[in-house]
């Protein structure tokens, strides 16, 4: 038994020593991202190029869904860990910067390098109590905006305005198998998420918040935008009664929807599915003469505030590489996204046939606010949008309820 105890102690010691060792292997960096599958493939290819011939460095990419990425990173960073680089849409930098989880980047790169980016694409935000805005992420693409997608087999030319779109859509809304249920729709989009409401809000002259970050939801524009979306079904009969993101995608890919409203992340998937894809800016609404205004934002890399020493330096070099001109040209050529670097942006339209239409839509878009209050805005507009579209709630009352709840939620977030 004495021997057994001694052996056990030795084994524990050996294990402990083994755990303490390993400090001389290659450096390991982590990137956490929420990319779409095709973006992930490209990132892997870019990492492979970056690491070619290097035995001193390993980079591990870890994928999360957008919401999981946010919560996982918050928890890991709070505990003093987390990946060196985190990739995501511009609106995640708001909470991360306020919580002190990511570091400002403006002092970490040469001014000439930062000047090579389109200034509108750089995600800057002032922290509470500070007057100066800091740079929180280096983008590898701009846009992330909604646009009108159409199946060119069904719709040869894009509509001039929304009245024409409705007319075309009505011709493609039908019960084709005679079972008494409509199986082909003129227009589909994610009716569950307010991100798809925002373009219509803009077309009626409204927006989600003012310059000071106060919600501006209880407006005639919001009430009219909600009513307009309901009319698409109740009056014009061109959209399904219920339709979420997956449903809209499935209908469009199967050729059962003529028009779809979706963003750049999805286009290549439709082409791969055999859809003869056409893109056009969301057309103006005759009632106001204004174009719908989708939110526009950049996607990019931020630096974990816990990254230290040699890992931090290497992470910055990697960030510069992944947002460099070569990587962005590749992204534009393969996915049709719009680069954030000026030089790459200049040649983007020759790289992919969809870039020109995408750019045309951005001209009518508005920058997505990156302040954390947007979470409250999304959260209160979502149920009201659904209540109007599905439950018959009065749009004006829904707009008033949005505003009241948004103010309460923002106060709660601020601990007031």
């Amino acid at each position: 038994m004495r021997h057994a105890t001694a052996l056990l102690a030795l084994a524990a010691l050996a294990l402990g020593l083994a755990a303490c060792g390993g400090g001389h292997g290659p450096m390991k960096l982590f990137i956490w991202e929420q990319m779409d599958p095709k973006e992930q493939v490209l990132l892997d290819a870019h990492l492979e190029t970056y690491l070619a011939g290097r035995t001193d460095l390993l980079v591990e990419r870890v994928h999360y869904e957008t919401e999981a990425l946010r919560t996982q990173f918050q928890n890991a960073a709070l505990a003093g860990g987390g990946p060196e680089l985190i990739y995501g849409p511009g609106d995640q930098v708001g909470p991360f910067s306020i919580m002190g989880l990511i570091d400002p980047l403006e002092g970490l790169f040469a001014p000439a390098m930062l000047d090579s980016f389109n200034p509108e694409s750089l995600i800057r935000l002032a922290r509470p109590g500070e007057s100066e805005a800091h740079l929180w992420a280096l983008p590898d693409q701009v846009g992330n905006h909604l646009i009108l997608c159409f199946n060119k087999k069904l719709i040869p030319d894009a509509p001039k305005d929304f009245a024409e779109l409705i007319e075309m859509a009505q011709q493609h809304t039908a019960d084709t198998d005679g079972d008494g249920r409509i199986d082909h729709y003129g227009l589909v989009f994610n009716q569950k998420e307010p991100f798809w409401l925002v373009p219509f809000l803009g077309a009626f002259g409204g927006w989600v918040m003012d310059e000071a970050g106060r919600p501006t939801l209880d407006t005639p524009a919001m009430a009219r935008a909600l009513a307009y979306l309901r009319e698409l079904r109740a009056v014009h009969g061109i959209i399904p009664r219920e339709c979420d993101y997956d449903m809209a995608e499935a209908l469009f890919k199967e050729g059962k929807a003529a028009f779809l409203i979706n963003g750049p992340w999805s286009w290549q998937g439709y082409i791969d599915a055999g859809v003869d894809l056409g893109l056009a800016p969301l057309p103006p609404i005759p009632e106001t003469g204004r174009y719908p205004t989708p939110m526009v934002s950049a996607k990019g890399y931020s630096l974990n505030a816990n990254a230290r020493g040699a890992e931090r330096e290497e992470a910055l070099r990697l960030m510069a590489y992944l947002t460099g001109e070569a990587a962005q040209v590749d992204l534009a050529r393969e996915l049709g996204v719009i680069p954030s670097r000026k030089a790459a942006g200049a040649q983007a339209e020759s790289l992919h046939p969809l870039v020109a239409a995408s750019r045309a839509q951005i001209l009518h878009g508005r920058a997505m606010p990156v302040v954390p209050e947007m979470r409250a805005i999304w959260d209160v507009t979502r149920p009201e949008l659904q209540a109007v579209l599905g439950g018959g709630k009065d749009p004006a009352r829904a707009a008033a309820d949005m505003q009241r709840r948004a103010l309460a939620k923002i106060a709660e977030m601020k601990g007031e």
């Binding site: 004495r2 989880l101 399904p240 009664r241 449903m247 209540a387």
Partner: protein
Amino acid sequence: MGLPVDPGGVQPARGAALGWRGRERLLALAFVGPAMLVMLGIVLYPFVYNVYLSLTDMGLYTFRHPSLQSPLWKNYAEVLGHRELYVVFVKTVAWTGVNVLFHVAIGLFLAVLLNQPIRGRTLFRVLLILPWAMPQYISALTWKGMFNYEWGVVNHLLQQVGLAAVPWSTDPFWAFLAPLITNIWLGFPFMMIIALGGLQSIPQVVYESASVDGAGSVRRFFSITLPMLKPVLAPAVMLGTIWTFNNLNVIWLVSNGGEPSDKTHILVSYVYKAAFTYYRYGYAAAFSMILFLILFALVWMQTRLGRATEASW
């Protein structure tokens, strides 16, 4: 660390015995120690940290440097003073009660059937365990698709038999019923397996004696089966109650995070939203402590009840 050692080294036999026992204890500690350390790390530390968080103002603007609330119980007062808590609590009790009731009723019914010598019994067993064997995440999302108003198979079937389509995701009542049905489907196999195991341990001779005494099948079920299943069913019901009470996945995924208008929350999804959507960590920690106390009281009562009825088993 053992008894005092004799300074003169006398009583060698007793000393050797103590040494042996001491070494045995040391060895036992070496075996149990790592597990204890892990338990301390993953159970005790998070619990204590949660208690601390519940007393702080940790939130979006105080994430890195939270300070203690003044008064200390401010978060608790806010949680308990919120009318919404009581509405969600009632919903949670209904959610748990209905779920566990159906889990036990369906599970027991199927277990009794599967305990009979029927053809294809093994196949039925496999098929009936499937809901439990499938990952909860996948089942929940599949059910969510099936509840779609226009394209879902549930409404399609309802319409086939002449009933109206149900607004499963937009009406608060039906939107709460949808995850309830999903969770009943997911949960009955567990009770079925437990009950089946219990049934197979009841000696056949007891039933035979009862039959000789003239007891019918209903009487045999209530006088033999049910009482003799109690020892296995009681802990299963307790576990089922805790799991269901704390089941975030199903309600969150099927109702899409509490839709419509946060009308389909149970306590655990409500606290999850407070913490991870609105960054109210201190408030959410206090809320989860109250959840813990509710569950603790429930388990305590059930244990007491179990002991009180133990004599009659």
